[in-house]
Amino acid sequence: MKRIADSGAAIVLVFFMKLGLLQSVLTPENRMLCDSAKNMGISIELLLDSQLELLLTSPENEYGGILQRSSSYVKTLYSSFYFEHCGTFVCNPYKAHHLCGDKFLASTLLAKHKIPTPRTFGAFSADAARAAAAKLNFPVVMKPVFGSWARMVHRINDKDALDAELENREEMGHAFQKVYYLQEHIDKPGRDIRAIVVGQECISTVYRTSAHHGNFITNTSRGGIASKCPLTSELSELCVNASLVFGEGIYGVDLMERQDGSLVVHEVNHTAEFHRSIEAAEVDIPGKMVEYFVACSKR
């Protein structure tokens, strides 16, 4: 961005820096984001993370802004870190990806900032995990600290199931699989809520109802069905506050309703998907995301 004239309060800015959308594949969301930009007359260059060659020892600031949409968590972290250190505006920033992508860190921070969240334990051995589960009472929910689309998110109904889960995890090679994350099971009404927050505004909320009766997984990537959810001021304020724990940006905030109707935030997603819920949301989600990204890139 170059300042070419400055007279009084009127500052004329010419925006000519390149904008990029970093992706692993052209997902439906990425296609919608590109189409929205095109409709606004904004050029966003598509980049593939598999084709990046990043000269770490001499970073170059080629882009004014990078919209981070890589499907890979690991590549998201490294590329966000790199581009930020080039002086590029990255949406979302590295810190957001780092903290949201690790459920251990995210739960700790949500609680620290007084965001209502399910009671959660972290443990580093099978025995400590058993002791934590006893304190939570069965059923408990176990999740990997890294991961998405509800992979390996399990409801553990009793001690036998917990022992089986822990044995499987102990046999896995990766050290992160031996970081145990155990969460209070919320007896939700067969659905959860996905909110999209852009900047300091909650722009949409949808219910996600499990495709199969009795299945507690509600992710739309696993067959969950999206339907309209009223965006109340209470819901909006909670979602914005939850997202701001990780720094202003673009987020998908997931909430559950307790039996008494109170809400808990169980996850904040740093590269939110929305294509399966956009119809129910009845909001131009990609348009609002692009507007925010461009405005921040110009700052």
């Binding site: 598509l46 593939l48 084709q51 499907s71 890979s72 968590y73 690991v74 998405s148």
Partner: protein
């Protein structure tokens, strides 16, 4: 529209004219999932597999 062939089986790929980087296609002959890895000219490669760390 540029003539394209599957990099795995050399079968002809029918695709719309305006392909975008990262777009996914399937080869009708061998079923291989393909990704557009270049657009000027169009270059096809084998699509990346969904990895353990993929998600949102």
């Amino acid at each position: 529209m540029q003539d394209m062939n599957c990099p795995e089986c050399a079968g002809a790929i029918a695709a719309k004219s305006a392909l975008q980087l990262g777009e996914l296609l399937s080869c009708a002959d061998c079923g291989t999932k393909l990704e557009v890895v270049g657009t000027e000219p169009v270059v096809l490669g084998r699509a990346p597999q969904v990895e353990e760390d993929w998600g949102e």
